[in-house]
């Protein structure tokens, strides 16, 4: 008996079958767009066709029930098509704006917020955290929920000087690549790995474990019979890369792990080039279930930015204009040794060489 042929390497389905008919008919012919109100976009084609997209916030951690509910709405309002954005929002498509009030009512009944367009705080791009990951210093979905609850007023309004992109990574690996965000929330460990000598020899390859350390802090254990490694703890900056290669080197600590906040990054090229986020707060306690210290720190930075920035200025452009010394002052953030870069070659072009500073 022969098995049916096993399908492999077919790749994802072609997107063409998932395009709303108006998107398909006007593919490549779009002329301009307007945002009619926060969360409602209108795209106008050279053919005169219009497509209204209604943007809806979503946690990226969802259930099949949630997706089915979204499908029900898409069937009712959006001709059976919808999409997700690069920031985990959903977009439903209307061809007739008269359907908008009914869609809004259905969304309100579910508690699904409309917004995330223009000069808002849109959904937070984030990682897995404690729901699935083996290296996190912090949770992801819980902090995101707590921060978005607090900043909710900014999701459905265009009140800020420019768009504000927040992202969260639950450890330095930054699966969420938060390193170019207006406000980045990053989980940090602060303890060197504890080497489990009895397990290491069974679980880990010593050369790859040694090679995994960016600062060269790991060496073979002097007692060769142990077949293990030792860590020069003074050199360790707790990246957890060795733990990724070798499970016998955990670096978790319930009290010392915590949250760092980095600010001022962007990816768009508008006015100024893409920029990295820079360290604002090196450590905030890891305080589930609602992380009040993290929430308060982000609100403070956001509101000071909203008060102080000029029109069109992103967070990083505002800080660049007023100077970092002024940023730390207006946000009441103490400046520490941790803020001064001493990591390899990137460090030296961050030191000031001019007399352009303020008191």
């Amino acid at each position: 008996m022969t098995e049916p042929e096993r399908k492999t390497d077919i790749g994802p389905p072609h997107y063409g079958q998932f395009l709303h008919p108006v998107m398909k008919a006007n593919y490549g012919k779009w002329k301009y767009h307007e945002i009619l109100e926060p969360g409602v976009l209108m795209h106008v084609s050279e053919t005169g066709d219009k497509l209204y997209s209604v943007r809806v916030g979503s946690g990226r951690l969802v259930s099949t029930d949630f997706v089915r509910e979204a499908c029900d709405l898409a069937d009712k309002y959006s001709d059976g098509y919808f999409r997700f954005t690069s920031r985990h929002n959903m977009e439903f498509f209307l061809t007739d704006l008269s359907k908008l009030p009914a869609l809004k009512a259905d969304l309100a009944a579910k508690g699904w917020p409309i917004g995330g367009t223009g000069h808002s705080v849109t959904s937070i791009v984030h990682t897995q955290g404690w729901v699935h990951c083996h290296t996190p210093a912090i949770d992801a979905s819980g902090i995101v929920k707590a921060v978005m609850d607090d900043l909710f007023e900014y999701f459905g309004k265009h009140d800020l000087p420019a768009q504000v992109r927040i992202a969260l990574a639950c450890c330095l690996n930054m699966c969420g690549a938060v390193h170019c965000s207006d406000i980045a929330i990053c989980g940090v460990h602060r303890t060197p790995p504890k080497v489990m000598h009895d397990k290491l020899r069974h679980l880990c390859e010593i050369p790859t474990t040694i090679a995994s350390c960016p600062t060269g802090a790991i060496r073979p254990h002097p007692d060769k019979s142990l077949k293990s490694v030792i860590v020069n703890e003074e050199r360790c900056m707790y990246c957890g890369n060795c733990y990724t290669m070798c499970p016998a080197m955990p670096c978790f600590d319930a009290e010392k792990g915590g949250v760092a906040i980095l600010v001022g990054g962007k990816v768009s090229n508008s006015k100024t080039p893409p920029a990295f986020s820079r360290l604002a707060i090196p450590w905030i306690p890891n305080n589930p279930p609602r992380w009040p210290e993290v929430v308060a720190a982000i609100r403070k930075i956001l509101t000071k930015y909203a008060e102080g920035a000029n029109k069109w200025e992103r967070v990083g452009e505002w800080i660049e204009r007023i100077g970092w010394e002024r940023f730390f002052e207006v946000c009441d953030i103490p400046f520490t040794f941790q803020h001064i870069d001493d990591y390899k070659f990137q460090a030296y072009d961050t030191y000031r060489t001019s007399m352009h500073f303020k008191f």
Partner: protein, 418 residues
């Protein structure tokens, strides 16, 4: 159902609650109830309760599945195995409800019913199933036209912005390029054979909605070469407040063309006399600020393509990098053979010289940009650097003396004179 007093505190507040959502599933699925139990324990202990994955997968593939086990299997047997399945998403994350419902049926039958829409690389992430469910789940996925995404030291599932499907600024067909490149690299996507991960993201314009410059080794960003198209009557309408700034994205009623547009142009290539907006297009650096502010008045030119940038990655190991301009302009026409060839050539150089777990951007730092450019046959161009070197420590190769003898140089108007 386990008691979850800490997680319950995340059910209040205006933002949609993942706890409320997951509890619905937990009521009917023991493994998802155990997932909430483990999560509650992490909230109490303030550390994770997931262990490293072992090697699990589907037959013939080395990627797409990430092994995951809890360190508390006795208390939470439902999540003893809790493997991830990455399902390669369609270009632009567009769906029909029919297709999504089929996917949800498969995940209800073979897993925890918990998922990410979407993961950071772009895939649909099915969170949590047992080893014995992997093959049946994979068979059902492929029977409905879906395949697994990349993981480990493989080509990762490419992702792109919505592009020409719903955006006036798409300088090339991001959706089709994403699909074509995903298909081209299927073997490398499913069989990790590179030094480390190799990511591709495609953005249609310099606004870079998929963060290609920061989040992908290979960043393809659309750009135009000719003149911005101006509708002067629409400029007047913005100046008069009939059209809203940035298409209505702001709290402001009216643009001040001089202050908001002309004076904020980074190259100062615009002027406005109250009637006519002029742009010295040769000096435009394609930042998009003026176009973003006046989408009905200004449109990118029609000589379109993309820049190819290379090397970005998150901080591990050598610190975060953003991608560097390698090819300032390339045509982007289906079937995108030039992009396929360029990416293959880069991968070949990187596979030849890269160390285990060394990203391509880190290899460029170690061996030098010249090593890469010569290997892939790309000439030096001033668009590749922000600023030339300040030190006098440059090397001369025989090829430089040969070029000098032939009178080769770069001319900003004519390109290379050979």
């Amino acid at each position: 159902m386990h008691k979850t007093p800490l997680l319950d505190q995340l059910e209040s507040g205006p933002w949609p609650s993942f706890v409320t959502d997951l509890k619905r599933v937990a009521a009917r699925k023991p493994q998802t109830a155990d997932l909430l139990g483990v999560l509650e324990r992490s909230y109490k202990d303030k550390i994770t309760h997931w262990k490293h994955g072992g090697i699990v997968g589907v037959l013939g593939y080395g990627s797409g599945i990430i092994g995951r086990y809890t360190d508390l299997p006795d208390e939470f047997p439902g999540v003893e195995h809790f493997h991830t399945i990455r399902v390669n998403h369609p270009s632009g994350w567009v769906y029909s409800t029919k297709a999504l419902r089929e996917l949800m049926d498969i995940w209800d039958e073979h897993g925890s019913s918990v998922l990410n829409m979407h993961g950071s690389t772009g895939d649909i992430i099915f969170l949590g199933t047992r080893t014995e469910e992997l093959e049946p789940c994979f068979a059902k996925l492929t029977s409905k036209g879906w395949d697994l995404g990349g993981s480990g030291s493989a080509f990762r599932s490419p992702s792109c912005c919505i592009g020409p499907a719903r955006c006036e600024w798409a300088m090339y067909d991001t959706m089709e390029a994403c699909y074509e490149l995903t298909q081209e690299f299927q073997f490398d996507l499913h069989r990790p054979s590179y030094p480390y991960k190799y990511k591709l993201k495609l953005s249609g314009c310099p606004n870079d909605c998929v963060a290609a410059v920061a989040r992908a080794d290979c960043s393809v960003i659309g750009v135009w070469k000719d003149d911005i198209r101006i509708d002067q009557s629409a400029v007047q309408a913005y100046a008069g407040g009939e059209l809203k700034p940035r298409g209505g994205a702001t709290k402001w009623d009216k643009l001040d063309i001089q202050k908001d547009v002309v004076e904020l142009c980074p190259t100062q290539c615009m002027s406005w006399d109250g009637k006519t907006l002029k742009i010295n297009n040769r000096e435009c650096n394609h930042c998009m600020h003026c176009i973003n502010l006046m989408p009905q008045a200004l449109r990118p030119g029609t000589e379109r393509g993309a820049a190819f940038l290379l090397g970005s990655h998150a901080p591990i190991l050598e610190g975060a990098q953003m991608s560097w301009v390698i090819v300032p302009f390339m045509e982007m026409e289906k079937p995108f053979d030039n992009l396929k060839e360029l990416m293959s050539n880069i991968a070949e150089w990187w596979s030849e010289h890269g160390k285990n777990r060394e990203r391509v951007g880190e290899l460029i730092l170690r061996l030098g940009m010249r090593s890469l450019l010569e290997a892939i046959g790309v000439e030096p161009a001033p668009q590749q650097v922000r600023i030339p070197r300040a030190n006098p420590f440059f090397f001369w190769h025989q090829s430089d003396f040969d070029a000098e003898a032939k009178g080769r140089r770069y001319d900003t108007r004519q390109g290379f004179i050979r």
